[in-house]
């Protein structure tokens, strides 16, 4: 039973600024994600959920605490091997693809960086995997819709055959019908490849759809961890989580009055 978790985070702390300007964005967050699990991080803006993800992915080197991926302790700067294991998909499909690179070049770059063979076959496979035909290979991002761009971003992450996929609000810039397609795609990929996923989102229903467990964050702290079944039952222990649940159930005049700030 003592299998090391795929992702282990211990007392993670991230602060920005110095002296009087110092702002602690993530304050002592610890969590574990098992191999093949999908874990949700929810919270409002400024809760630190994306900052946790950026520290895990190596995009933000300024953190303290311990982060391990696949049982390997990670330092501030990451090895090339790390990026082969762990890839990320960003929120804004309009900003995360190079506007002057074709889909082919976008997908070829990670293959070249990691010195993998058969770039041609890999690109075709990755495109097929995300439901885009080979006809998309020589298009530019401006010739794609938002959903298609997000599929390219997912293909770029998958082309290295990673074991961990970090998702930062992957559907919040998309229309609901496209969101459904992307969520279905992510669920299928996870089942096919046994991917471990961390999904950051402010939308509880999206997290419930894809994840097994989730953590609720507020002001840099982890408020509580619960299973998706408990979330669906409305079985939250902390008042902050209960408020978040009520707020996501549509507008209600009386509910709006009951809201308060949680320090």
């Amino acid at each position: 039973m003592n299998v090391p978790p795929m992702i282990g985070i211990d007392s993670l702390q991230v602060a920005f600024g110095h002296g009087a300007q110092r702002m602690v964005a993530v304050d002592g967050v610890s969590l574990r994600v098992a191999d093949g699990e999908c874990y949700g991080l929810v919270g409002e803006s400024g809760s630190g959920k994306s900052t946790v993800l950026r520290a895990v992915s190596g995009l933000n080197p300024d953190w303290s605490g311990r982060v391990s991926i696949g049982g390997v302790e990670q330092a501030a700067t990451r090895s090339k091997g790390f990026f082969k294991t762990c890839q990320m998909v960003f929120q804004d499909p309009y900003g995360s693809l190079h506007p002057r690179h074709s889909v082919d070049r976008i997908l070829a770059e990670p293959v070249a960086i990691h010195g993998l063979d058969d770039a041609d076959g890999r690109i075709n496979r990755a495109l097929r995997e995300v439901g885009l035909g080979p006809s998309f290979r020589f298009r530019y991002p401006h010739q794609l819709s938002g959903g298609q761009r997000q599929r390219v971003a997912i293909a770029r992450a998958l082309i290295l055959e990673p074991r961990v996929l970090l998702l930062d609000e992957p559907t919040s810039a998309l229309d609901v019908s496209v969101q459904a397609e992307i969520l279905n795609l992510l669920r299928r990929l996870r089942a096919t490849y046994g991917l471990t996923m961390v999904l950051v989102s402010h939308n509880l229903a999206v997290v419930a759809n894809l994840c097994d467990r989730l953590a609720v964050m507020n002001r840099g702290r982890l408020v509580e961890e619960l299973t998706v079944e408990a979330l669906r039952r409305g079985d939250a222990r902390q008042p902050y989580t209960q408020q978040l649940l009520r707020a996501s159930q549509g507008y209600d005049r009386a509910t709006a009055d009951s809201f308060r700030d949680f320090a």
Binding site: V176, S177, Q179, A180, H202, A205, A247, T255
Partner: protein, 287 residues
């Protein structure tokens, strides 16, 4: 209900492009009383352009035509620029999605709100300031005196949106057009802002057009809903009945939403029927 606040008939917005004319809005008609009307649809459905065209805010080279476009019986198509400027703000006000791009960054928020009042009422500077402070309190900003002297970059997104709403409501408009007023905000802040709008509609008898992509929000907040697809209204119903909508597009949108009270995993994907684009009798019958 007395005379309608707003009458729109066969509204069309088109943009000439190199590939020919693109029609963003293709024949939208509705009348609005003192109620909260929701317009929902996906990106590109023409919902924002419908809201903008009412105030004559469609950017050139866009062209707006309508058989009728009248505010309290007054024709907006033939109104002079001067008359339109008077109507904008005091008759019809508009709240945009993002306060970051809608507030003047080099003017304190208090002065901006007071200016909105003075343009329409010729009140003294002191009176305008007093009203602006009252308005800030009305949108539940805790310390109005302190916020009055702040610049837009010094306030949070939620507070910025409240400031926008205060600015739009201070000339006491009869109709508020809100284009995704809360979609950039956290859910709890969103609820609080909607509560403010809800109260103001109730207390002042204001009419409201609420443009949004969020079906659940519109269903729970508005009185009536228009569902737009590709520039046309495909269905119109009472907001409370939205979940029993009949048009396949509306049904498809509702079904594709993940829900907390439903543990099915694979979400049905919307398949678009080309027939939705044309005036088919079946869609007419649904309206």
């Amino acid at each position: 209900m007395s005379e309608p606040l707003l009458e729109v008939s066969n509204l069309r917005v088109s943009f000439p492009t190199r590939q020919g004319v693109t029609e963003a809005v293709r024949g939208v008609s509705f009348t609005l009383g003192r109620e909260k009307l929701g317009i929902v649809g996906e990106s590109g459905s023409g919902k924002s352009m419908t809201g903008r065209s009412i105030l004559g805010l469609v950017p050139p080279p866009g062209r707006v035509t309508a058989d009728r476009l009248a505010f309290r019986g007054e024709d907006l198509r033939t109104a002079s620029d001067k008359r339109l400027r008077a109507i904008r703000g005091s008759g019809i006000a508009m709240v945009m999605q993002d306060p970051k791009f809608s507030l003047n960054p080099v003017m304190t928020v208090g002065r901006q709100i007071a200016e909105a009042y003075r343009v329409h009422t010729r009140a003294s500077a002191r009176e305008a300031k007093r009203r602006a402070l009252e308005m800030l309190a009305a949108v539940r900003i805790r310390d109005p005196e302190r916020v009055y002297d702040r610049y837009p970059h010094e306030v949070s997104g939620g507070m910025g949106q409240r400031i926008m709403i205060a600015m739009m409501l201070i000339p006491d408009p009869a109709l508020l057009i809100a284009d995704e007023p809360t979609s950039a905000l956290d859910v709890t802040v969103q609820m609080q802002i909607l509560a403010i709008l809800d109260d103001l509609c109730g207390q002042r008898g204001m009419g409201m057009i609420f443009v949004s992509h969020d079906l659940n929000l519109v269903a729970s907040f508005c009185d009536r809903v228009l569902i737009m697809y590709a520039g046309r209204v495909v269905e119109s119903c009472r907001a409370a009945d939205l979940h029993n909508a009949r048009h396949p597009y509306t049904r498809g949108l509702l079904d594709s939403l993940p829900r907390l009270d439903d543990d099915r995993r694979d979400l049905p994907v919307l398949t678009r029927d080309p027939a939705w684009l044309t005036d088919d009798p079946a869609a007419e019958a649904l309206r």
